[in-house]
Assembly symmetry: C2
Homo-oligomer: 252 residues x 2
DNA sequence: AAGTGGTCTAGACCACGTT
DNA sequence: ACGTGGTCTAGACCACTTC
């Protein structure tokens, strides 16, 4: 049940369909340049706007990517495998490694700490207040950059009462990261919940993640609970969906 | 005499931004109609294509939805909460309930069995062959429809050697579903792995899920392993991302 | 019947990247 | 310098929904 190509398929869909088939069948390889607006106008005898519309379809599907002044190219990607469960075991952060280390072995990674600050009241999203049970929190805002491209934005919220005076309130949280510090204070995270959504980014979000058109984001909201069942961290992550595969292993 | 539009931001982005703000601040409620092309042309003194482009931005972000002949409307969502782990415990399918029952309590659900067939060789995706270790498989293709809208497409693959002669090869798998039948044969699924990706759908996929523009899909590839560690099922699911929140609970 | 979005044309100027 | 995609205009006809 593909195309159906029935009587009245719009021209731009027809053109887009032909290009899509060519990409799928490898006639245009990842990274290769596709026929441009002028090529399509000549080849199919259509107006510029119609050729544009055809290329826009492929970009909206995430199959192609326009580079100003250069052309439209077939997209290529190589996703990061993020293991949702093993990566959070104490063996990971207990040994002085951050959980992120578990994800990528030998690629050029930079973790930028954008902000570490104490906030309260209206400045804290009400969903976070509800989960943590307090509006007095420390916030850590970070950006993860892989091979020069931002792949994830992250905001972690910690109850101020638990982390005041620890390195969690500083740029460098020390060996093992924030979870190791929480454990030293007797609030080791033991139970986790991750909620996953996906949607298209706003213009602003697309800018901050340098997303190509047609790329969704995945939103992960993680809550970490201590042994007593109290929430000790809420972490809102926004991932470039083209850069990630999430993996969860569990017993039935 | 064009333009030059005072600032660097294109007109259509300016118009889209104003509408986006209005939506965020509740001046247009979910389901409500937005100003149409003609309204925007008059209000901002622009050409039809420019007004269209502004509305296209909001649709691409998943914020708005066009209905032919009617107008452009603010989208509304009410996601299904899919619990990735508890839903697959033996208590669920062991008691004669299908795992799906765990997701939605009181909404109008229909599970359509599209196809049940034996396939082999080239007809089986090579990724599936690699995991199951055989190219002789039974396939079950289903569609899940909630409140009249398709929300998930699913294809399950089972090794033919394990399921031949069982109700898994028929339309109705019986109480507890396929997993209960596997358990009766001594191949109870015990370990699961789910891989999650997200991307924009192709035109064909959007049609089959009746997706609004600007809606990504989430792809879940689940592999079920028996106690001996052999793969007994591979399930490829494609979900309407606007209809789902995935949830995973686990210990550190 | 009126209004809506969907498609399409045939021009134009611009900012940008490659050459 | 040239070709590329990005933006924009001012028209047009169509299919569809709503009244």
């Amino acid at each position: 049940m593909t195309t159906a190509g029935s009587a009245r398929e719009p021209k731009y869909q027809r053109i887009a369909g032909a290009l899509r088939r060519d990409i799928a069948e490898g006639r245009y390889a990842p990274g290769e340049r596709l026929p441009g607006e002028n090529d399509l106008m000549a080849e199919h005898a259509v107006a510029r706007m119609t050729a544009r519309q055809a290329l826009a379809v492929l970009q909206a599907e995430g199959l192609a990517e326009a580079r100003k002044g250069a052309g439209v190219f077939v997209r290529e990607f190589e996703p990061i495998r993020r293991r949702g469960i093993q990566r959070l075991s104490p063996e990971q952060w207990g040994s002085g490694r951050s959980v992120w280390d578990a994800d990528i072995a030998e690629r050029d990674l930079a973790v930028e700490v954008i902000a570490v600050s104490e906030v309260s009241g209206d400045e804290v999203p009400s969903a976070v207040v509800n989960i943590l049970g307090t509006a007095e929190v420390w916030l850590r805002r970070r950006r993860f950059v892989l091979d020069g491209k931002p792949v994830m934005l992250s905001v972690s919220y910690f109850p101020a009462a638990l982390v005041a005076g620890t390195p969690i309130t500083e740029t460098d949280t020390g060996p093992g990261g924030a979870y190791a510090r929480l454990a030293e204070r007797g609030h080791a995270p033991e139970h986790f919940r991750e909620e996953i959504r996906s949607r298209m980014p706003t213009a602003d979000e697309a800018l901050r993640l340098k997303l190509a058109a047609g790329t969704p984001v995945m939103l992960i909201w993680r809550t970490a609970f201590s042994a007593e069942g109290t929430a000790v961290e809420v972490n809102e992550m926004m991932l470039d969906a083209a850069s990630y595969v999430l993996e969860y292993d569990f017993e039935g």
